[in-house]
Point group: C2
Chain length 375, copies 2
């Protein structure tokens, strides 16, 4: 697995249980998965020699992020390495214009979109589809970075001026969708085409960062949930995805619209560690290794996952003890990362039937760990 963040760390847990050897290419010793230990190699994901040396002796190469440059992926494939998802599929998670083009071609519902070169072109799009619009860089954005909601030609011009495009990066403009809520549909697909769909979840993003997930999404009809799962399965097949695919969706009165894609384990699936029969991490491994997939069925009426973001206090020991003492049923996941304000450093999960109580428990614990509450 290229990339040593918390997704790789949680994949280590799944690999230990499955008896699968997992080698991780981490950038440095403070990476989450490097602190977890195991077969850790040091190197940058954009260093061709480091990636090639790392991949030697692996049966399959997969990813905890989508930032490996295309030429490096192509070199891996040329050397005979099984790269999953394959570079052509992964390109859709790396480049949002590429993704929009493919989604539209597959007739999967999404917001209106276009590629623009200037604030003037953006204004033409906005005049047709309505202000505000969402302006994105085609590559390299994550956790809300590289995304702006702009409500005027001047605002668009300011964003474009302040963020000069690097070579190969385009400006993508999308219709602003007045969604009622955000959903995520996760599916897992193997090279042989076997696929399984997880329950559709409700996600809450705060400042572009996923902060809360409820699985399954409350008050979602079976018909509506199946429609969302079908969208994700169609995307997985159309784009030939192998491994986990997360389709972030806007829920609107007219149906769901595709917002973003990720081809790896994803924050919206952390609930599955306790909440599903087979976690997204285990199923990602099973898929990329072309093993039969595990059941994605939910194990509780509701599972709530809330992210823990770094706060002002680097030493979390007291808060860690407090939340464990207060709620013995809480599952605390810490990623072994240094605490920095706003950084994802862990998450908490609770399972049960009373959704309001689960939300209160999970948010209290996360707020305490973050330092928002300090009784």
């Amino acid at each position: 697995m290229i990339g040593g963040g918390q997704l790789a760390r949680m994949t280590q847990e799944a690999a230990l249980a499955l008896g699968v050897g997992l080698r991780v290419l981490a950038a440095g010793p403070s990476d989450s998965a490097a602190r977890g230990g195991g077969d850790i190699w040091w190197g940058a994901h954009d260093d061709p020699d480091a990636v090639a040396a790392f991949a030697q002796g692996c049966a399959v190469v997969t990813f905890d992020h989508e930032h490996v440059p295309a030429p490096i992926l192509a070199a891996l494939v040329d050397s005979g390495m099984a790269v999953r998802p394959n570079p052509a599929a992964l390109a859709h998670a790396q480049d949002k214009v590429h993704m929009r083009t493919a989604i539209s071609a597959a007739d999967v519902p999404g917001p209106a979109w276009g590629v623009v070169g200037s604030a003037g072109e953006l204004s033409t799009f906005a005049d047709a589809h309505g202000w505000p619009v969402v302006l994105k860089v085609s590559r390299g954005g994550y956790d809300g970075r590289g995304v702006w909601v702009v409500d005027s030609p001047d605002a668009a011009a300011a964003v474009m001026k302040d963020n000069p495009r690097a070579p190969g990066i385009e400006w993508l403009v999308e219709e602003y969708v007045p969604f009622t809520r955000e959903l995520a549909a996760q599916v897992v697909r193997s090279p042989s085409g076997q696929a399984a769909a997880y329950p559709v979840v409700r996600t809450v993003q705060t400042d572009g960062i996923c902060t809360e997930v409820v699985a399954p999404c409350p008050s979602l009809s079976d018909e509506h949930a199946m429609a969302a799962q079908q969208v994700a399965l169609r995307v997985a097949e159309a784009l030939d995805v192998v491994g986990m695919l997360t389709v972030e969706l806007f829920d609107t009165p007219g149906g769901v619209l595709v917002n973003e894609l990720a081809m790896r384990p994803h924050n919206s699936g952390h609930w599955s560690i306790e909440g599903a029969v087979t976690s997204q991490f285990e199923n990602h491994l099973r898929a990329v290794l072309d093993l039969p997939l595990g059941s994605p069925a939910a194990r509780a009426p509701f599972t709530v996952m809330v992210n823990v973001l770094g706060g002002r206090h680097p030493d979390m020991y007291r808060a860690y003890r407090h939340v464990m003492a207060r709620d013995p049923g809480l599952k605390v996941h810490m990623y072994g990362k240094d605490v920095r304000p706003g950084r994802k450093i862990g998450h908490v999960t609770v399972c049960g039937a009373d959704l309001d109580a689960l939300l209160a428990r999970a948010h209290h614990a996360a707020d305490y760990l973050t330092g928002v509450i300090d009784e």
Copy 2:
């Protein structure tokens, strides 16, 4: 954690999730936890220098087996190291005569027992308590080794002749208990005295090796289950155990009798990874680190765990694929060990409501992995 077997490997999974750094002293690179990776040190558990070097920089030392010699444990304590469970408690898991003496002193029910030096002394015991009797070495036995059921003075003499005692090892003789079934009561206890009791489970031993666990034990009255839990809690307190304690029990018409003790995660608790809110591995870590304990509550009406023993085929890949394809709800745990006949190399777990169906699923999978079935 001293010892690099599958118990250490499964503790690695729990440590990754908790964000706790776990260093393991493994005997060599083919140990289960060493293959899992992480902060692995090489050395023998009975090499004072290797253990002392390993312990440097650890906050707490704990164990995946009970074979560390007492002088090495004493030296760790003398050097100021927190050793949990402490050597005085651990001595009860290391020496069965020591355990029987303490259990009797604490007025905890167990079979009649005695220390004998010859087949003649054994016969005197057997004539008083009935033939057959169970003959055990006081130290060093595990998984059925060092235990014999003998039905005559000649049989006893033969065992004693074939197994000359090493220095410090005694012959323990116990009344043969005509039990109706075997149970295990697991509790976890922290240095501050907080304790939690897991649901009492039914265990099946085959040739002295735990092969099947059902949690909770079916057809066990609440009163009976609570009595078993009380026995385990009393043992934990009387012996000042810290961490996981497993009390293996004989169930008899007159009540439960203590068979064996283990002060570490134990085979009878593997079901808790999926079957309990907090696994025995997580709670062992929480206890030895004096963190508040997690809920031991069951997550399903029944959880069935069946051990996978090595069979004749060293390559298990085909069987591994088969069981995953046949039962997507099955949880397969493989320990990364080389396959040798009769060796514990993994286990499978299923959760649900229909006990007969769960037993059939788990045994089919284990038999397939072992090679007993080869359709």
